[in-house]
Amino acid sequence: MMRTWWANRARSFERRIREAGPGARVAELVRAREVARLGERLFDPARPLAWCGPLAPFELLAARGIAACYPEFTVGLIASLDGVEPALERAEALGWPGESCGFHRAVAGAEALGMVPDPAVVITTAGPCVGGAILTSDLARRRNLPWFVLELPDTDDDRAHAFVTGQLRELDAFLTRHLGPAEPAALARAVARSNEARARLAEAVDLALARPSPARPRQLANLGPAVLPLLGTEAAVTVTRAFRDELARDRAAGVSGVEPERFRLAWLQGRIQYRQDVEDALAEAGATIVFDELNDLSAEPVDPDDPWPGLARRILDAHVLGSLERRARRLVERCRQGAVDGALSPCHPGCHQRTGAHGLLSQELARAGIPTLHLDVDCVDRRSFGRAVVRDRLDAFLELLATGSEARP
């Protein structure tokens, strides 16, 4: 049933793209179509599926024609349709604390309810957070599934690169044992597609930093996270190229994402997945998101004929790994590039990954003259979203930015 549902959605987006005609702004529809097509593949019982951590080398799966997803992505799909509540309630009935990360809580509940597709293999990545690693490990153990753990060191030196490179070769052997081999040419093609998708994404990210930014407040929301499980496929190239082209056209025509552009903001970590009016409120106030931290994937090309060291470097380069100082440095650099006025940081107390990072990141941004608004929200559990409370903080933050800009020489 789910497979048909996603297939219908994909067809519906395809129809809307055709109806929009050439030159129309359809990048968001293209992404929605490709994500729906992935949904269709994920729920196809005839096709094996890999459940991975978000830092897995998806290119290895794409080279084998294996559909892959990661828990946060799957729940994001459900949450964006406002359908995650039964899963959250089920997880809480199973003993998950209501204050734990909504993503992982929802996956646990959705799995118990049979709302998520069954995996053939599990690839746990020991990052970016403990919760996701525990979740996938638990799934593999309970279901007695073939399971690979990709250990990810917190350092970014030669030893770490060698360690991860070795593990990637082992992972390839593991996949060959359980899902069949990847022909070298197929792997090279997947890597080349991933290189191209990452390059186009990086161009889109750079275009959004322009002044005025051609990006509308929600346009680039969760683009990086949506592209991750598509990496290595033509779909990733199609999606990233659509965004790059659209932003490039608007930039060339001098189009501003909000008119007039009063505030340029950065968004730390993931966007809120369910329907809410934060971005609408931003647009009303003349504010747009010119930089999304999760869209800033490494664009360093990987050698298609010897991909292992390059893939390892890319994984270790992820901003959610490594030292917080490195992450803060990159964030500040990007914010300066984009002349960012302020940053929005959704930070749920149950998020292992964010709760530790928020303080340091906001401190470093403050040193660069960029204030941060902490939004206490869970990005998938809408039950904890207080509309008036969030709106009040947002309004006050925009007032703070306005008086700050008046005070600037």
Binding site: A366, P371, H374, D376, V389, E399, T403, G404, A407
Partner: protein, 265 residues
Amino acid sequence: MNPSPVFLGIDVGSLTCDAVLVDADGRVLSAAVVPTGARNRVAIARARAEVLRAAGLPEDAAPPTVATGYGRRRVEGRLGAVTEITCHARGIAAVMPDAELLVDIGGQDSKAIRLGPGGRVADFAMNDKCAAGTGRFLEAMARALEVDLDDLGPLALRSEADLSISSVCTVFAESEVVSLLAEGGDPADVARGICRSVAARTRGLVRRVADDPASLRVALSGGVARNAGVVAALEEALGTAIRVPPAPDTIGALGAALFARERAG
């Protein structure tokens, strides 16, 4: 002769609706605090009528108005709507120009505002999603102690006990108070525990905008500033003297009136 211009600020909060009328020099002519109740439009009209009457102005006078508070968008005929964070900062700067940090504890939210020059907001933090540690919390605790809200502070000052009350949830804290009293606890000790609980929660908020609050000149506004028990507990928690302005519950409305004066000018 044209009457002197006046400017109105209205702060539509969850518990009270406050209004302040100022003259062209920013001097306060009159102020009113009325319960918001279920219909904030009625409360807005009442607060407006009260300040106009107290200033000797006709009820149909329509001074330039800026609205603030949760219900700010419900105020008709306003020049603008400004959040309570910005208005409180502006208001406190008018009465305590040297304040560096403002703590405002209102009906259902509390805020810590780091003040910049001229009453600008340099940074702020608000309580998250929960009314524990706010005016509503104290109301519930006073009910559980069976004392008037106004008597809670003086009662707390009679104790030196180190009792602590959970501030995680208002409802659970109420149950805790009831069971402490049922076990024979001294109401004064419990009252002090309640004030310390509010102070502990507020300290956490303050720390989000100031590493060393003890080194700052701290002001306290909001209705809770009238509670001497909370003021004392907060002084202990922050390690610094807390200054309370003469009309702590109308600081937001004062800030709004001053914005009305600026915008109309």
